[in-house]
């Protein structure tokens, strides 16, 4: 089981940069080894931003948290 804190600490590394542009990545829920996140603010409706973050953030989470499985963008 991955913890909310583990995920938050990874997200926290890019959050200041996102927030500087009026956006954010919000951790909605942790279910088992999966994290549910939501893009908010300026980039919320942008398909490219979704894809970019979806791939890169999931990779970072998998790199840093041993049991992490899937990132779900809701």
């Amino acid at each position: 089981m991955v913890s909310r804190d583990q995920i938050e600490s990874v997200l926290g590394r890019i959050r200041p940069l996102m927030q500087a542009d009026g956006g954010d990545i919000e951790l909605v829920d942790v279910k088992g080894n999966n994290a549910h996140v939501r893009l908010t603010g300026m980039c919320a409706g942008c398909p490219s931003a979704h894809m970019t973050l979806y791939m890169g953030v999931e990779m970072a989470l998998r790199d840093e948290i041993k049991d992490f499985e899937e990132l779900v963008v809701v």
Partner: protein, 347 residues
């Protein structure tokens, strides 16, 4: 062979950094000569761009520019690629084939990744460059070639010589006019200019208006280490321009790998505290030196060993920082030192 494409000297961005301006001034001077040039720089720093620039500014500009990466070929293939072969030299050699030296006749031959050429091949290369003649594989006649040889290396050849992995005689033959290209992280002041240049180019290619770039994106680009140098920056810009759908580039458009990389370097300055309730005596001087030492180490780390920038971060003079480094017994981080800069460039 890498096709030079439509190289135009106008497509080259010089940048504001003193080092790059010194390099371009040096290129202007040496383009008129015929001596061998060696360009050293990490992958993606623009070695081939400089080689092309040298060629296009020289009297050989109407002759061929042939670029070849020596890393692409196996040991046996390099020889036939560079020197060509005669019909019947080996199975499959169904006709005579000129090598790269011959194809560059009258022009410039850019041998990139020279540090990947095996020792056995280095002897043959030395002979060819020294005598200005080549012999095709399986052939007996010497063909004289008139080419200017420019080599590119991602490693410091002098160190490779010391380690016994590169022939000393070949090194001195090639190392007539050395040019050392700094990694992008050592000339961060050029990042905004390069970013604008690439955005403009890719927007024009895609036929869209130039998107606005948010300050946070510029900040992110300025913090990231760019291990792939200018090539990585170019690719990052292309990716963003190709996917931008709203006319403004924000951090959300930047690849997460770059965001994570930039986030890491935004390290907080260390703070030293004393736990409340501690009653034993301490030495104020020792504590202050510890604090000083850890803050200087931090500043040098986040500024990639650049002392001027570190001094700026600490709001002290550059000269004062030097004194304090000595006083605290802090050696410079060796990794931050660039490969030996040639005298001509250390203006």
């Amino acid at each position: 062979m890498r096709t030079p494409g439509s190289f135009s000297p106008d497509d080259v961005v010089v940048g504001h950094s003193a080092r790059m301006r010194a390099i371009f001034d040096f290129v202007k001077v040496v383009s008129r000569s015929d001596s061998n040039v060696i360009i050293t720089g990490e992958s993606g720093t623009g070695k081939e761009v400089i080689a092309q620039l040298l060629h296009h500014a020289s009297s050989r500009r109407h002759q061929p520019f042939v670029a070849v990466s020596c890393a692409l070929f196996s040991e046996n293939l390099i020889e036939t690629e560079l020197f060509g072969h005669e019909r019947g030299a080996f199975t499959g050699a169904i006709k005579d084939k000129p090598g790269r030296f011959e194809l560059a006749q009258g022009g410039t031959l850019f041998l990139d990744d020279i540090d990947d050429v095996p020792l056995s091949m280095q002897v043959k290369l030395l002979r060819a460059i020294q005598n200005r003649t080549v012999e095709r594989v399986g052939g007996t006649r010497s063909i004289s070639v008139n080419v200017r040889v420019i080599t590119g290396s991602k490693r410091d050849l002098k160190r490779m010589v010391a380690e016994g992995n590169f022939r000393e005689d070949l090194f001195y033959r090639l190392n007539v006019l050395p040019i050392v290209l700094p990694p992008l992280r050592d000339r961060r002041e050029d990042i905004p200019l390069l970013t604008d240049f690439f955005f403009k180019r890719f927007a024009r290619q895609r036929g869209i208006d130039l998107p606005a770039i948010s300050p946070a994106v510029r900040y992110t680009f300025g913090r990231y280490r760019w291990p792939g140098n200018v090539r990585e920056l170019e690719n990052a810009c292309e990716r963003i321009v190709q996917t931008c759908s709203c006319g403004t580039v924000r951090t959300g458009c930047v690849a997460a790998g770059i965001l994570f990389g930039a986030g890491e370097t935004v390290a907080a300055a260390p703070t030293a505290g004393i736990a409340a309730g501690e009653a034993q005596s301490i030495s104020l001087d020792d504590r202050l030196r510890d604090v000083e030492s850890s803050l200087i180490t931090w500043a040098l780390k986040v500024s990639d060993g650049n002392k001027s920038r570190a001094a700026e971060l600490l709001s002290i003079k550059r000269s004062t920082l030097g004194d304090r480094i000595t006083r605290c017994g802090l050696a410079e981080p060796a990794a931050a030192k660039p490969v030996d800069a040639p005298v001509a460039l250390s203006a």
